[in-house]
Amino acid sequence: MLLITCPVCGAVGDESEFHCGGEAHVKRPASSKPGNVSDESQYEYLYVRNNPRGPHREMWQCVRGCGKWFNAMRDTLSLQFLAFYKIGDPIPPLPGKKSATKTRTPIQGRRK
């Protein structure tokens, strides 16, 4: 059972009190002209996720606590959390080269 700490309100609980929202930092290929968004980038946005065997960054929601979304870095092989960080916090780098998957370049700086 995963033990999780909400970096927003500080609540500590097990996975049943949180909700996993999948990969974090996925960027929508926005454009003022939707026609300019290529099929390829739309496809990647909708269906392709990093699926690493190792450290992975994902979104979690503090369902039974403050209700806020936050990010976490978790190893998908050991199931250990490596970091919890708020939306907008600097994105922690993936440790080592354990992961076989190349990660998409993270979006730098603050995000809403």
């Binding site: 049943s16 690493p52 092989l77």
Partner: protein, 452 residues
């Protein structure tokens, strides 16, 4: 115990496999027997009893890899093994090897809860799952191996009006596709499953159910072993404990694979590695629309026969069947986060068991004996990906997620044809990975609302 090896003449056999009235497949079979396989029969059983069953032949050889094959299959799960078997048997391609990083059938094939059904919504799914289910009907005989196929009937019970409407829609779709299913009433369900709680005050009221009389279960290991023995007998090399660590390519074409036992060459390579697909396609240099999640199952202590159909309850994420050993085999939903650990959290099976105890109050006093997990390969529309890839000569068969045991024979059959001919088999064609780019999904996310 040595393995006798000899060569028998080619024999072309025309065989008709007809499961039920819905699917009849004329399969042209070319036998190329490389090894004489001891057949199982009442006579061989009696003969071996005389020597205290100590002289049974090995089911398959454990050869060293040759430097080159016509086809390399990565992953000795049910799908990889069935693919090799049909490649050899239907297409006469016997210079084939299967590589597995562990032992054959040790992935999801050996970890699943063995539910077999074909009551899917979309036409494309109906075609492949019903082909598969109908092949299961004759598989023990086909393989001369008892896979314990038990078409005992399967009920998807409905606990909400919404579910009733959804499954009524399935029933109509199944009728159009020629698959035998029908909606049944709570009274009919109670008659088939006397232990089910249908009272007025039930926490989860049973409003009805979708019934597939020829759905059921089979022995998962036996399916892997039967196909492995059959493929080996036709000359396929099964190499266990040999992980693929690289996909060798030259000018956009696959030329072989890298393993700890050295490089092995082949002009055709097939990735059939379920939850580990991403690792392999990363080696090949392209992305797959797949995420790997943990799915768990558990069994109770063995008890006397108490339930002789499969019951699935989608709204509450739980299903149950009873094995021949008497254990209740229970499963539910996948753990909702990426996972490669082959184990999961207590949360999801606690959720499943909590609901099943409401539906079957008699279960409340049972001890649960074991639980385990497998890593399932989930696609966006919960349908598999079968076919060609951006790398020439490289094929992929994955994305079966929580429900691919039932598909092993059909998937192996169409995938072998796809590999042999270098183009998708008509039944496999809709399942190409371009469907996600084109928005042509085969949406089965409501297929059962539970992992199965």
């Amino acid at each position: 115990m040595s393995h006798k090896s000899s060569f028998m003449s080619k024999k072309a056999v025309d065989r008709t496999i007809s499961g039920d009235n819905t699917f009849t497949h004329r399969l042209k079979c070319t036998y190329t027997r490389k090894n004489i396989m001891q057949r199982f029969s009442i006579f061989s059983l009696a003969r071996n009893a005389l020597s205290y069953h100590k002289n049974w032949q090995e089911h398959w050889r454990s050869p060293e890899p040759k430097p080159e094959y016509d086809v390399i299959i990565i992953g000795a799960g049910g799908h990889g093994l069935a693919t090799a078997y049909y490649l050899a048997k239907e297409h006469g391609i016997t210079n084939v090897c299967i590589l597995d990083k562990g032992w054959l059938g040790g992935g999801n094939t050996g970890r699943n809860t063995t539910i077999i059904r074909s009551n899917y919504l979309q036409d494309e799914s109906a075609a492949i799952y019903e082909l598969s289910r109908s092949l299961y009907e004759g598989l023990s005989r086909e393989l001369n191996y008892n896979i314990m196929f038990s078409p005992r009937g399967l009920i998807n019970v409905c606990a909400t009006e919404h579910e009733m409407r959804a499954f009524q829609r399935h029933a109509y779709a199944n009728k159009l596709a020629g698959i035998e299913t029908r909606m049944i009433t709570p009274a009919e369900i109670k008659k088939m499953v006397p232990i089910i709680e249908t009272g007025k005050n039930a926490r989860y009221p049973i409003l009805g159910g979708l019934y597939q009389p020829r759905g059921g279960v089979a022995r998962h290991d036996a399916v892997a072993w039967g196909y492995a023995r059959g493929a080996d007998n036709l000359g396929v090399d099964i190499i266990q404990n040999c992980a693929v660590t690289g996909i060798l390519q030259r000018r956009g074409r696959v030329v072989g694979v890298k393993t700890p036992k050295g490089e092995i060459k082949a002009k055709k390579v097939a990735i059939v590695t379920a939850g580990n697909t991403t690792m392999l396609t990363d080696m090949a240099g392209f992305k797959m629309p797949i995420e790997s999640l943990g799915l768990q199952a558990l069994v109770s202590e063995p008890i006397k026969p108490i339930i002789d159909v499969v019951v699935m309850a989608g709204t509450v994420h739980g299903y149950v069947s009873q094995s021949d050993k008497g254990e209740l085999v229970i499963g539910g939903g996948a753990d909702p986060y990426n996972n490669y650990a082959q184990r999961g959290g207590i949360t999801s099976w606690e959720h499943t068991v909590r609901a099943l105890v409401e539906i079957f109050p008699v279960f409340s006093r049972l001890n649960m004996m074991r639980h385990w997990g497998g890593i399932v390969d989930m696609t966006g529309d919960r349908s598999p990906i079968i076919g060609l890839t951006p790398v020439k000569g490289l094929f992929v068969n994955c994305g079966w997620g929580t429900g691919g045991f039932k598909a092993i024979p059909g998937s192996g059959f169409v995938f072998a044809d796809t590999i042999a001919n270098g183009r998708p088999h008509p039944i496999a064609a809709p399942f190409n990975m371009d469907r996600f780019r084109e928005g042509r999904l085969i949406d089965e996310s409501a297929a059962a609302a539970v992992a199965h």
